[in-house]
Symmetry: C2
Subunit: 592 residues, 2 copies
């Protein structure tokens, strides 16, 4: 059985020292004093470790059950969900007008890492509800907001996103679900949606489905899609729960992981729906949710990588196997702990340097979202448009790899379900797929974001890297180990960008064939930048005779590992990108 | 549900064109005429696709059950096992003196790829039996051989390897299972073994366990270990089955994958055992099995990568989603097939170029084993000592990654169990762990094999690469696309080797910290060499106006992809290796 240790110290380091939240000039950040964020993180860590983590393994084993249209979540899920609601965690960053606490997204994200790290499957129930809240908050009428938001904020009601149909996942233009206007402002919604997380469950008294559908006469493709609010239980005029709507869960999927999350086939049989936003404007409204959801999925990947790392590190310290080649470290015992072995350390350092770097990157992204939403900062909007696919794609790909390395440290014990290491990898695997498979993230980055607004957001990113390097160029302690590798990696990223500009014009496949490598190359440069920043802070703290030197020395050593051992991947990614599309596209389809 | 297509054409290409089996000067190879190997491959392909593959998914779902000490394998396994036995497949490369067919290991390996590709879990039952056969054949007395081998050859009886105990996996020196001599030449075996594949099942009438145990008074560590034959059912003097021995399966493990393989906790409670080989010589006898088993595990990885690739390619051709950016390819349909998208092709080409390269490498390794066993070739023995950890470690690591990419092409459908893509990845995962976790393979390669006999085997490998390049240097069609990248990759491998020689002397951790990267770097150079060889053959065939130009053109295009897109990884591995052990080992254990 795995255990979860809330990484509150490191989250606080990123919030307060790296991102300097309490002094950032962003609306609402004045509340984020170090004492306040520490208290919030401690409380969130407590519920994560003590309430959510203990039902993760049992949730995996039990899974969800569908009985006569009713989905039963695993034992303890209802109690844990109520505890989360009672603690007020579900409305942390929601609008106070509807009962939320109005905290910045930054704090929500820091808390979210722990909630989903402790129990990935569980986190989808409140996570999807939050996504529905966001869509209605941005696109709903005043009446819709008054009707739904207070209940979604408290998770008295759950929420879902209904996009996928059996014949279309990525290509939403193929959606067939129909919406027929009844003439009274309501619509009949008819169709089948699949892969609907939290589509049906026993945690809330109602579920508010957001459903993409096509109105009669609307054009083909994504342009013809509208978004509808379809409550599981219709509301009476006084707002109380009335009749059951014509929406049912007809099947639960059997999946590789996140067994405790109900992944539903949903049947809409002339269900009553209410238009959210305007007709044929459904994709825009849906994407409001998607961007937030994509950062959230990156966070899920990180959460599982952290869980894997913690358990692998503990096992490596305890499990006695073999001897240190440089001399026994546990001479009185039958063998030395696994952690003495360089190859075990390599895997642990891969994980540690990734999770700490990824944590900084995601929280930087979250702060950038706050700059957009709270300060109306256009430059921040450009930056987060670039960072979102990197956070989703690069982090979830790498996080999965890290959970596999964590599992590997357990040897044979990693493969049996009893230790829980398999579950971590199986759960983490989904994050590479949902909310846009990672290939689609790469396509979004290279095909859309990179060249948006004349490429100025990418230039802004390079300026950020150059600025940091210039600012610190006289810092000898930083130079060789951090700035030089960061500069080299950033040059690889520039060369890749230039390659796309030059060759992508002639043949877009030259860019698309390198999209995934570009996303990873970009991710490494982002983490390199995060590590250089963190190293600078660590060096300053040590110069200032911090009372906690071990924390900062560990931070520096971890950063050195990332720069020396992980950042060299940029060269391989660049070489692949620069090899172009020819070898990728050479074969006719029938040759495969 | 996945389906399996026997890759007989490509296996035949490797056997006859790449390895020129029918004209190789190796004892027994004179039988391997093209017609003969084609017929054997066809027949093996037929049983793989028609008998073994159809019970793979149901085997995963049903798993094995332990009922009152009896293990029930999933539906259809007994019938399939009997079909395999009736076809004579279990004794293909076994000694004719004991009923085998005496075929080279090369042919056994080619057939084995299909048997384990079609059904990984199933293949462990006959695979472990074969390993037990090998150990008894090499180390048994004449009487033991006469007693056990004929039954193991036909798989009337099964076999197992019992090494691991709960407190020791890799570190066998910690084994506690005791062997007390009874004075009549027999021993009482007492202890608990875990992770015993095929430890108990209903496929055979008896199971011959090979058990590592420590005799009274034997020294601590691996030196004190002896290997024992412990039959599940004792034999009467006339060789017929007698009483049940004191060995029982007390638990089946619940695992991430290979659910249909019974992974048993075995309890030996004063069971009757017979010494195999000499006392305190158990490790040597066990390693006889291990080397063969390690190549076999590499083959399992390849088999699952092939299965994943085939199903992903089929899905990518059928599933309609999105449009080709360079113009619709299926204008009359609602969308183009997935295969038009460069990022989907990238993943398919990764898989295709890996599986064909890995197939050539493993079969080259198998031929090398035949050179050792049939020709007593010492140089071949040196070469296979290097190739074995690469085949096991590099191929299973990469194969798992490829099954994950195959799964990714299915999007959300890859995550649900219904399509079978999750099973492929879950099954493939074990190959990185058992028969020596891949970190141990890397350690074996760098710590033992690399420097063995003054490093002359490694020099022989480099000579092979250089020889091929020199021999073909005037071949313009080969030069830029194959020889140049091979030369660069080989230089990276040389630089890594030199780094270990220089820095590993001072501090062995400098070598050990780079061991896993070295194994992968070596693997890439091996596959680069395989591809260069195959490209040469393809070019020659096209020059000679082959009747099957499509096959050779596809081969060339696939090779070009590998050289351009996969081989650049050698630079990243080298950079990591040359960064040394400092960043890897910097942190104290408590800092993790």
């Amino acid at each position: 059985m795995t255990s979860y240790t809330p990484p509150t110290r490191d989250l606080q380091f990123v919030l307060q020292e790296v991102l300097q939240a309490s002094t950032a000039k962003i609306g609402g950040y004045e509340e984020l004093s170090p004492d306040f964020t520490a208290a919030v993180l401690d409380a969130a860590g407590k519920i994560s470790a003590e309430v959510l983590a203990p039902i993760s393994a049992s949730g995996d084993t039990e899974g969800c059950r569908l009985e006569n249209g009713v989905v039963r979540t695993p034992s303890g899920f209802k109690q844990a969900f109520d505890a989360l609601r009672d603690g007020g965690w579900t409305g942390l960053d929601c609008d106070p007008e509807y009962g939320g606490q109005g905290m910045p997204y930054l704090l929500q994200t820091a808390v979210g890492e722990m909630l989903c790290g402790a129990n990935h499957a569980f986190s989808l129930y409140h996570g999807l509800t939050h996504a529905a809240y966001t869509a209605i908050h941005k696109h709903g009428s005043d009446q819709q907001k008054r009707t739904y938001l207070p209940k979604l904020v408290t998770c008295d009601w759950g929420g879902t996103m209904n996009m996928t149909e059996s014949h279309c996942g990525t290509d939403l233009g193929l959606i067939r679900t129909r919406a027929e206007p009844r003439g009274d402002g309501k619509y009949d919604i008819t169709g089948e949606k699949i892969f609907i997380s939290a589509g049906e469950h026993d945690l809330t008294e109602n579920i508010i489905h957001l459903v993409l559908a096509r109105t009669a006469g609307a054009p083909a493709g994504t342009k013809g899609l509208s978004l509808f609010i379809v409550p599981k239980i219709l509301l009476k005029d006084d707002g109380s729960l009335g009749e059951r709507n014509a929406v049912t869960c007809t099947k639960l999927e059997r999946k590789m992981g996140i067994h405790a999350s109900a992944t539903c086939v949903m049947n809409y049989d002339g269900a009553t729906g209410y238009l959210l936003g305007k007709e044929q404007d459904g994709m825009r409204a849906m994407f409001t949710m998607m961007n937030e959801a994509r950062i959230g999925v990156g966070l899920q990947g990180l959460g599982q990588a952290v869980l894997g790392y913690q358990n692998a590190a503990a096992y490596a310290r305890e499990r006695l196997q073999g001897r240190d080649v440089s001399g026994a470290k546990n001479p009185d015992g039958p063998a030395d702990p696994l952690i003495v072995h360089p190859d075990v350390r390599r895997m642990l350092m891969n994980q540690k340097s990734f999770v700490e770097g990824a944590r900084a990157l995601i929280l930087w992204g979250a702060k950038t979202v706050d700059e957009v939403n709270r300060n109306g900062d256009a430059a921040a909007e450009g930056m987060i448009s670039l960072l979102t696919p990197v956070i989703k794609g690069f982090i979830t790909d790498t996080a999965f790899d890290m959970t596999v390395q964590a599992q590997q440290i357990f040897g044979g014990y990693g493969y049996i379900e009893e230790t829980g290491m398999s579950q971590i990898a199986r759960d983490a695997r989904i994050a590479m797929i949902y909310e846009g498979a990672n290939g689609v993230q790469a396509l979004d980055l290279v095909g859309r974001k990179l060249s948006a607004d004349g490429g100025k957001h990418m230039i802004a990113f390079f300026d950020l890297v150059k600025g940091f390097i210039a600012e610190n160029k006289n810092n000898a302690a930083l130079n060789d180990e951090f700035l030089t590798p960061l500069k080299l990696a950033s040059k690889d990223l520039q060369a890749a960008t230039m390659y796309f500009v030059e060759k992508g014009m002639k043949n877009p496949n030259n860019a698309l064939a390198g999209a995934s490598d570009f996303m990873h190359l970009f991710g490494h440069v982002c983490l390199g930048l995060m590590w250089a920043r963190m190293a600078r802070i660590a060096l300053d703290a040590l110069d200032d005779k911090t009372v906690d030197p071990a924390f900062y020395e560990t931070k520096l050593a971890t950063g050195r590992y990332y720069m020396a051992r992980c950042l060299p991947m940029t060269g391989a990614h660049l070489a692949r990108i620069q090899s172009g599309a020819d070898t990728v596209m050479a074969l006719p389809a029938e040759a495969f």
